[in-house]
């Protein structure tokens, strides 16, 4: 199994990188039972004093579960960073999601390597 590269681009204080990564690892795609970081659905996170913004994608624009995943991501980031931090999660479709974005562990679980 190849080691993972950085799962998403991060901008902000280094000490918060692990906090937001752990929070997003707790957001689970209910159908796959895999988290959105492992599935490569998180594109970017930017933390600033008083706010955090995440850009994520989904494998399908026709999937209503998107709404649930966004809510869960907002909830987990909000709980991790504490009250008073404004949380924004934007769903983007460009660039399109690609199986190469999945973590080595997820790819192994799904038979890629």
């Amino acid at each position: 199994m190849a080691p993972d590269r950085e799962p998403f681009s991060y901008t902000g204080p280094a000490e918060l990188r692990e906090v937001v990564t752990a929070a997003l690892h707790r957001v689970i795609d209910p159908e796959m039972s895999l988290d959105i970081v492992a599935l490569g659905l998180v594109y970017a996170v930017e933390t600033r004093p008083g706010s955090v913004k995440a850009r994520i994608t989904m494998t399908s624009a026709a999937c209503p579960v998107t709404e649930l995943v966004v809510d869960d991501a907002i909830g987990e980031l909000g709980r991790a960073l504490g009250p008073g931090v404004e949380v924004g999660v934007e769903v983007v479709w460009d660039p399109p999601w690609d199986p190469d974005r999945m973590s080595a562990q997820a790819r192994y679980a799904l038979g890629w390597e």
């Binding site: 796959m32 599935l39 494998t59 624009a61 026709a62 579960v65 998107t66 909830g75 199986p99 890629w112």
Partner: protein, 352 residues
Amino acid sequence: MNPGLRAARIALLLLGAACLAAGVSGGLARAGIPLAAPASAAFHGALMTGGFLGTVISLERAIALGSPIALAAPLASGLGALCLLRGISPLAQWLLLAAPLLLSAASVAIARRQPQPHTLLLVVAASAWVAGNALFIHGAPPDACAAWWFAFLVLTIAAERLEMTRLMKRRAAAKPLFYGLTATLLAGAALATLDPVPGDVVFGLALLGLALWLAAFDIARRTVRSDGLPRYAAVSLLAGYAWLGLGGLAWAAEPFAASAPRDAAMHALGLGFVFSMIFAHAPIIVPVVARVSVRFTPAFYAPLALLHASLALRLVPGFLQTDARRWGALLNAAAIALFVATLLASMTRRRA
């Protein structure tokens, strides 16, 4: 979330449930259960495919699109089907034409947002519903409408499964094979409208081919080895593919046998395949629609097992015996009721 929007979604889900209740009572009346439901019996197919499934599929698509205007599709679908209970009126006809056109528009908007094979296939599937309802409104024979209605349902489900297969490593031949089967299915539906003999055979064999494709390439083959909800969903999907294949064979056999294969084909597809998909996905999708949490328990396996056992009873001995068919139909309805009860019992209000 806006409480008005949540209420509108729940109201539309209940509208779909009303169509389901009417459709099931009509189905039971057809199977010989003494129920005074002549209109539901006459329009059983339209109530189940358009009324119930068309409404919930359109609702799901509207939520994915995130546009309250798109909720007009499930509204038209559900109301149009219920209007049929008072006969084929001009209002019912307009609503039954508007619903698939509105779903097609929502599907086009999604395909523009993410131009991928699975989103384009959803547009094709919605167009098959347009064709089926247009034929129905113009008084085409039920079997000609049924091929288009099932094309709508099968292709909608296949599109969603196609999307999931992207997560798995596939053989290079899988994609062109899938497109070939989809084109054959549509050609079969079109041919069946003109001449049932070759049309039914082509349509049925395409269904069988799609069942084999899904059984070979679906991610359910992997998730069945996990646990909890993903495992339960995978079991439901794989069992559904078996019925899809059998339904395809029965559909292809129609021109060479008496009237029984068509009933077997429709129920293998409608109950064995489509309802198995509903049982698999409702615990995932209903929480989104109604903003509730669903706690998965092994109790969900009980209605699933009852659905498949009762369908086997209905279609195997029921092929020849009216009594077995009647008991099978009654237990099919019991399986759906048990599933709804299990789902309701596992729900809690979702935290904000």
